[in-house]
Amino acid sequence: ACAGQSSEPEDKKEVQNKKEKVRVANWSQLISEQTNLLVDEEKKFFTNEGLSVEVIPGAGGGDAIKNILTGKADIAFTDPGSLFSALNKGEKLKVIYNIYPQNVFNVVSLKESNITKPEDLKGKKIGVYSLASGTRQNLLVLLHQAGLTEKDVTIVETGLLNFAPLMQGQVDATAATDTGLYLGKQKGLGEVNVMEVKDSLNFPSDFFVVTEETYEKKQDLLKSFLAGYEKSASWMIEHPEEAADLAVKHAIDGKDKENNLEIIKLRNASSVSELTDEKGLGFFDMNNIQEAADLYKKLGLIEKELNMSEIITEELVPKKQ
């Protein structure tokens, strides 16, 4: 399991001396679902690539992109919504890795309200984290598939504790993510109906994004990083228990090991797809993402026509060994 890991002190020192710094701007705090990014101390995924990775916390995918634009970070861990918005504003960005090819968003309602398909949402009050969040954009995607628009429903912001108003009956449904739903269930959310966005349009949840400048100037560095990341992701897929253990120490929300394990399992599931089984982690389904971008324009979330093939590059993604 620990192949490639060096245990000799001198060796370690030598590697450390050569380490190059990579700063990853995260969309969130350092949370358990990203344990693979945080365990370099123990697992040396990045050290072995000659890197020292610093993960910079943020409050949303927009922050992550702003942080690479200002040079505060090299790589952004961000969602397609934020990416599209930034591209829409004319920013020069490159997408270099498909972190979660699976869409993790969903819309949850209580069993008794009998909302089983997107059409049932018409005229209902639906909660989202915030108007700026992926929950809203993904909700719109789901509605669109049912021929509904934002005007056919009432969208309200509920904050991160979005299941509370659902349980109190203040909203009919709430847009969430798979991990959020899991936690909600843990906290006593009863019988629910879940509609997954991936059943409407299964576009990815998060990418690694860099600026064009970084892409051009630091190709080797990025390659090394992605290689390290790929190893770490594989490790987490193979050893969820070990990751859950380490998350207790490294993740700010990693207090409970059982929860960590379940969340890591969910993320592991969203990290793989038929395509990645075939080509390896991190590869893209170009058409699918182009479709998502087109839909975002159609939904009025962005104004510009985006050509994703110019933006996305698979050059740096480690090839499957």
Binding site: I65, T70, A86, K89, P165
Partner: protein
């Protein structure tokens, strides 16, 4: 003084020019240029895009300010007059203030709904404290001689309060009110951050979602203007009220 206005204006222009220069070197997403912000603002005002949001936020600010200040003033009086109440209530007052409203926002929504009420309550809660503290202090530090005068005049406690302690403490109370006025703007906006689809706070969030930083700065400019307007209004009221208090101009 005319000279002063000129200097003030020049400084403002210089700041804008400096900003414009810095902004040119940066992504609009991070720091938009004043010219861009101004255009966004101008267009938004022209086509009436901002108006409903301004009205909404302003209503919340005013309602919250009035309720919060009044409540802070009254509780300040009670806590200033009655030591027992001061000791009894103080932990709850601190709790209500030291806890970030943003964290409690989901609870406020639960209790007060998604409508204006929860925002007004948050605003009121934020305005409440500066008025409370300044009122307590003003009441506690009234000139003893004048207190003796009122005792000799057989004034009731209430009269002493209304006719002496409050007028004598007015400068200090107004200082608290000035703080409250400016904070009320923040209060309403923070309230709108969560659970709002109208108002300037909701627009800030929406602009962040769209990564439309010029729009966000346009809204922040609006907020500054609103804050400044309210502050000037208070200064005006104060000037009338406190005419008799200022120290005379000396040589």
């Amino acid at each position: 003084m005319k000279n002063a206005k000129l200097i003030s204006f020049l400084l403002f222009i210089m700041l804008l020019v400096g900003w414009e220069a810095i902004a040119k070197t940066m992504s609009e997403l991070v720091l938009p240029a004043p010219s861009v912000i101004f255009m966004t603002l101008y267009e938004g005002m022209l086509d009436g895009y901002f108006l409903p949001h301004i009205i909404r936020t302003l209503s919340e600010v005013l309602l919250g300010l009035i309720l919060g200040s009044l409540f802070g003033f009254i509780v300040g009086i009670l806590m200033g007059e009655i030591t027992f109440l001061r000791k009894l209530l103080f932990p709850y007052v601190i709790a209500s203030q030291a806890v970030p409203k943003l964290a409690l926002a989901p609870l406020f929504i639960l209790w007060f709904g998604f409508g204006m009420t929860s925002k007004v309550v948050i605003t009121a809660l934020i305005c409440f404290f500066p008025l409370l503290e300044n009122t307590v202090t003003a009441i506690q530090f009234t000139d003893r001689q004048k207190i003796e005068l009122f005792r000799v005049l057989d004034a009731t406690r209430f009269q002493t309060l209304i006719r002496l302690e409050i007028p004598a403490g007015l400068p200090s109370i107004m200082a608290g009110f000035r703080v409250a006025v400016v904070m009320s703007v923040v209060g309403a906006v923070v309230g709108e951050f969560i659970g709002g689809s109208e108002g300037l706070g909701a627009m800030i969030i929406a602009s962040q979602g769209m990564m439309d930083t010029p729009l966000m700065f346009a809204i922040l400019t609006l907020l500054t203007v609103i804050g400044m307007g309210l502050y000037q209004l208070v200064l005006l009221i104060e000037k009338k009220l406190l005419k008799r208090y200022t120290k005379e101009k000396l040589l």
